[in-house]
Each structure stands twice: as C-alpha cells, then as structure tokens.
Amino acid sequence: MRRNIALSATAAISALALVLSACGSSAGGAAGSGDEQVTLQMVESLTNPARTTLIKGMLADFEKDHPNIKVDLISPPTEQADQKIQQMLQSGSGVDVLEVRDLTVGPFANNKWLYDMAGDLKGWDGLDKLTDQAKKFTFDAAGHSYFIPYGFYGLSLFYRTDLVKEAGFDGPPATWDDLVTEATKIQDPAQNRYGYAFRGGSNSAGQLMSILEAYNADNLDAENAYKVTSGATIFSTPESQTALDKYIELFKTGSPESSVAWGYAEMVQAFTSGSTAFLLQDPEVIATVKDSSLTADQWSVAPNLLGPTGKAAWPMATAGWGVAQASKHHAEATELVKWLSGEPSIQFDKENSLVPIQKSASNDEFFKTGPWAAYVEMTSNPDKWISVIEPRDSAWWTEWMQRSGSDLQNVLLGKMSTADLLKGWDQYWTDKWNG
C-alpha cells in the first residue's frame, strides 16, 4: 500500500514537473520573430518605488506597440542590484535587458556578458535624435555599443537665494573663488548656519575633481579628464595644488566641521533643512528639494563653478539600457532598448531629474525654466563648460573612490598634507595606466 502511494506521488510530481517545464518554455518562447510570443526579463539597478512604477508604465506602452513581446521587470533593492545582475549575467540566464551603469559597463563587457548592439543600431533613425553627449556614450572607443544612456547626471550649484541676498551678494557664486568668499561670509556656527555642504564622506572625489578640473580646464584632456594634454595626470600640475588648497580653505572657513564624514544624505539634508547655503550636486536633487520645506523662491540652481580662466569641465555620470549576451532574444531585447531610448526617455528623464538624451528635449518648456535653466546654459556654452569624460569605466574605479575618500579625510583631519595627497594620487594613476 505504502509502495503504491509512493509510486503515485512520484508519478504525480513528475507529471507536474513536465507540465511546469512545458509552461516555462511556452512563456519564454524561442528566439522569436513574427507572431511568436516572446517574454523578456528586464532588470533595473538604481531601483526606487516611484521609478519602478514609471518603468512599468513605460513597459505597458511598449507591450501595446509590440503585441508579440511581453516584458517582466525585476527590481532588486538598489544596494544589492548590481551584484544580483552580475550573478544573473554570470549564470547566463534570467536576464535579457539590463540597466548598465558607466561603473559596471567595463567589467560586464570585459567578461563578455553584454551583447554588442553596434550592428543593430546601424540605420536606426533614433540615433540622430540623440544628443552628441548621448551618442558619445552609446559607442566606446572601439565602436562597440554595450548600452544606450537614458540620461546624465552632472554637478551644478544649488544655492539659497535668500541667504545669498541677506549676506549682501548680488547673486550666486560664478567661480570657486566666489564660492569660498560667499560661503565664508554666510557661515555662522552659533546660528547653526553654514556656507557649503562639504562632502568628506563616501564618494567625495566627485566634488573635489570638479575644482581640480576647473583649474586645469585649459589643458584638460576631454576624453580622459584625469589627464592633461601633456599626457601627465591631472594631479601633477601646479594648478591642482592651488585648487586643492582652495578646496581645503572652503572646508575650513565655509563648511561644518562634521562634514568630514558627510555623505550624500547629510549634504542634501543640510541644504533642504536650511542650515547650509550651497550644495554641489546632481540634478536628481531637484526633486528632493522641491519636496522639502524650502519654498520655490528660497532656492535655485546655478551652473557648475568656473576656474580662474573662466572655464569649467562638466563631467557626466551616466547609466542606460543594454542587452545580455546570453539572451536568446537579442532582436527583441535590442528593440526594447531602442524604444526606451526614444521619445519615452524624455518623460523618464523629467521624472528622474536627469539631463535628457533627446535633442528635442531642449525645446521642452520643462527643461528651459526654473532649476533646469542652469543646465540649458551649460549645454548652450560648450566652450565655457567643457564636456569631458572621467575614466569611470576603469577596473580600479571603486578602489580609487575608496582610496580618494580616505586620503581626503586624512587631509581634512590634518594627518596628510595636500602636496602628499596629490603626489600619491599622481603615482597611483601613473602606475595604473602603466599596468
């Protein structure tokens, strides 16, 4: 009797397994074209609930336009997302379309986990609709296309209009020198009021590089902003020494003492709570400031700060959509990436406060007014705000961010001189580039 029950159970489980596997293959579909139903698995990385809802809405529109393609969105928590994506890519299954960041494209492409879309993008009419910046990031130096950016993050100066006026200044600082002057005058720790929301904690190199690049703008290698035109590292020039000393002066005279440990959250909180007057951050902060207690007439955004020669570099961080090499549906997946990079990207950029990738966005009233006006000014004056690329796709980028953060903290704490910091960084990058 028991034997019969065991046999029946085994048979039932086997039958169920067969049915499930049949369902699975039907849902997944074969490398599909024509009327065959194809299901794509798409994974996002910089997940947040509002963004996930937005993407789901966009995917619903895509499915209406493409009735034979269904897209399942996977949204891992942001902190673990890149590792999850890496595991999926490594296992060779479970992902067709994925969010690729400028930080992850290097290792992902190097391990041959990403599909090269260059061939598929030939003749695509959407390519000409992309801004030059977007096109630059769509293809790498060797002509491969591992992702199409969906938008850009670039630093600009958030400032308190009321505090600047109260301190007797006509307007926001235009140069780094002006920033030190205004921040120092506004700073009053007794009133819990500070000039600049300094970033001394994690990922502090972004703001620091902004001043180094502004001071070296005349000689900067636009394709690799960590180099000057002579081929040496940016850290080896006398301009960088002046810039770094100025930056430390800004910390000492115009920033809270505790900002040596500030990361993104503290900087933004300091600005939105009204205790600091200036914040150098990406446009995604616009949405956060709009939701804060600050009223619209209390704050605005100014272009990225200029160096002594009246120029600044404007390095962009980016992310976009790519296709997994292991996907069995390259054609459908690439179609989805093209679609996401078209007109729908404008809405995506608006709701995520990103610098748009579509040329036509410059005619959109949304991007011309209010806090976005500074971005229009920067993109309209490429000789003044020079578009540069930082080597964010280097294999050692995360190591560099951790080392640079730690070294800067040691300088702020008086445990290292600015000259030693620059010497160490010059050596670090020279050694890395020489292999």
């Binding site: 890496q86 490594q90 290097g106 290792p107 190097n110 391990n111 041959k112 720790p189 819990n192 500070y194 001394g200 904690g201 994690s202 809270p256 003492e257 505790s258 900002s259 040596v260 440990a261 990361g263 503290e266 909180q269 300091a270 709570s273 205790s275 294999a395 050692w396 995360t398 190591e399 951790q402 953060g405 730690s406 903290q409 040691n410 702020l412 704490l413 445990k415």
Partner: protein, 330 residues
C-alpha cells in the same frame, strides 16, 4: 565507534544489549555495570546514517561546498574585471593585505570593537536580566522594549545612530546642548577619536538585548531552593550572586560570550552604515574592509581576508575552550 562495534558479530551484540535493557527494566534486578562504550551493529549504524544523511548532505551542499569554492578564491587572482582568467597566485593576496598600511589599524580596531562591545554588553545585559528576573508591574512590556533592538536589522540601527550622532541635526548633540553639557556641537562621527567610540556605543545598545535574553533564561532555571539555602547560611546578595547564581549559569555565560565574540567580530553592519570605516579608516574593522574589497570586485582579496578572520576566530575559540577545560580540571 570501537573496533568491536563493526563486524559480523553485530546481531549477537545487539541481542545482548537488548537483554541488558530488559534486565535493567525489571525492578529489584541489579543493573549491570556500564562498559563506557555503547556498541552498535551494522543495522544501527545504517539507521543512524539514514537519519544523519539529510542534515549532512544539506550542510555539505550549502555550507562546506561554498566554503571550499569561496576559499580557493583566496589563492587566485579573482577580480570582477576579468573573470575569464583566474590564475593561481599562491599567497599573494595574503601578502597584499598584510603589506597594506591599514592592516594593523584594522586589526587593532577589530580587537577594540570586540572587547569593549562585549564587556559592556555583558555587564549591562547581566544587570538588566537580574532586574527582569523579579516580577513587577508591566514586566512583559518592559521585557519587550528591552528585547526589541535584537529584532531590528543591524544596518537600520546603524542608519538611525548615524543621524542621532549627526553633529548639526542629531538628537544626541541637541540633548547635550540643552542640558548644558556642551556649548557647541560635538563632531561624533567626524572626530577620529570619537568615531570608534560612537560606533561602539551603537553596538552596545544593539547587543545588550541578546545578553539580557540569554542570561534571563538561565537565571530563571536556577532552582529557588539554592538561593533559600544560601540565605539560610547567611550569604548576602553579592555572595549569593557570585557563589550560587553565577556558577549555576556558568555554561550559558561561557557559550553566550563565545557566540558574541564570533558575531561581533563578524558584524560590520553598524559601522558600515554609520561611517563606512572612516574617517580616514579610524573605524575600519576586518569585515568592513572585506565589504570594501567586495565592492571593488576584488573577490580574491576579500576571500583572503575572510580566511584571516576565520583563522583568528578558530584560534580564539580553541584557546578559550582550552582555558575553560583546564580550569574545570581539579
């Protein structure tokens, strides 16, 4: 298993064991002396094996296999940048770690982190457990409040304390300034001398609950008669505690301390959320450093550091248990 326990005589021996059991179960019959070794036949061994097998297979697949697979990374160049080639590099990863200027700081910080956290958690947990042992009104509510932190994620605790210790907006400075203990904000997480103390305070708050739970459970198992006897013999509270209570719950205390040392050493969550190991590596411990290597995609280095952590803990556990065994011997 002894040599006698295997072989063809198994059936006969199991028969004789059964006879002994039957004899022992009859009242009035003398119990045969125990040989000190229980002998099993093939049949018993097979049954035992069948019961052990699922657990063994589970542990082997989900613990030892990944451990061995992960362990070999420590001896290879295993970098996310290029996983198509992972050449064998011997002890190079260990050499790289030890030659790193922050290795000594990290190990020293780890030691301070474990010792200070453990001692404070133990003492405060003990006092709380003693207080909770007696019945009083709303004891259940109070117990729930004390044990609550243990149910919260360490990372979340870290984020909460990061904001509480924030110099400008934090509640800690606000309270200190209101009651006049300081006239200007203290940069808790920015000052290298205070940063390690701040993360340890957060860890103490978090870990006290575990000691309180364990010690309270042990205290409740101490027979009341022992305390009555001690009282009759004229022992005061302190003497009763040290001579009666502590020796009775010693096993629980020993195991709890051992577990906590291992857990605190392996617990980067709070530090990672509060300081990320900064400022200037002043709160860097071995496991936060390991996270940094993982983030860099340097899995070989992270694995090598994992080996070092495991080595330290194995040596500690061995020494700790050996000392206790020696102490127990007359």
């Amino acid at each position: 298993m002894t040599a006698d326990g295997v072989g063809g005589a198994g059936t006969a021996r199991s028969g004789s064991t059964g006879a002994r059991r039957r004899a022992a179960s009859y009242p009035g019959k003398p119990t045969p002396p125990r040989s000190g070794t229980r002998q099993f036949g093939w049949r018993n061994a097979r049954v035992l094996l069948a019961f052990f097998a699922p657990a063994f297979v589970f542990v082997a697949i989900f613990t030892y296999y990944p451990l061995i697979r992960g362990g070999q990374m420590a001896f290879r160049k295993w970098s996310l940048w290029d996983l198509t080639e992972t050449p064998w590099i011997g002890l190079d990863n260990f050499r790289t770690l030890i030659e790193n200027p922050i290795f000594t700081t990290t190990m020293l910080n780890s030691l301070i982190w474990v010792v200070v956290s453990l001692v404070a958690q133990f003492l405060i947990g003990f006092v709380i457990a003693l207080g909770l042992r007696r019945k009083f009104r709303f004891r259940g509510v109070y117990q729930a409040l004390v044990f609550y932190p243990w149910a919260v994620s360490g990372f979340l605790i870290g984020i909460l304390f990061r904001w509480m210790f924030n110099s400008e907006f934090g509640v800690v400075n606000d309270m200190l300034m209101r009651i006049g203990l300081t006239d200007k904000p203290i940069p808790w997480l920015a000052d290298p001398k205070l940063a390690l103390a701040s993360v340890i305070i957060a860890n103490i708050w978090y870990g006290v609950a575990f000691f309180a739970i364990m010690i309270l459970a042990a205290l409740q198992s101490v027979p009341h008669e022992l305390h009555e006897a001690a009282a009759l013999d004229g022992a005061g509270r302190w003497k009763t505690l040290m001579r009666v209570t502590v020796p009775t719950i010693k096993t629980t205390l020993v195991l709890t301390v051992l577990l906590r040392v291992i857990w605190i050493f392996n617990f980067p969550d709070i530090i990672w959320a509060m300081t990320g190991g900064g400022p200037g590596n002043q709160t860097q411990i071995a496991t936060t450093w390991m996270i940094q290597f993982t983030q860099q995609g340097e899995y070989g280095l992270a694995s090598a550091l994992g080996f070092i952590v495991m080595g330290v803990l194995v040596v500690f556990t061995g020494a700790y248990l050996m000392l206790l065994t020696r102490e127990r011997k007359p």
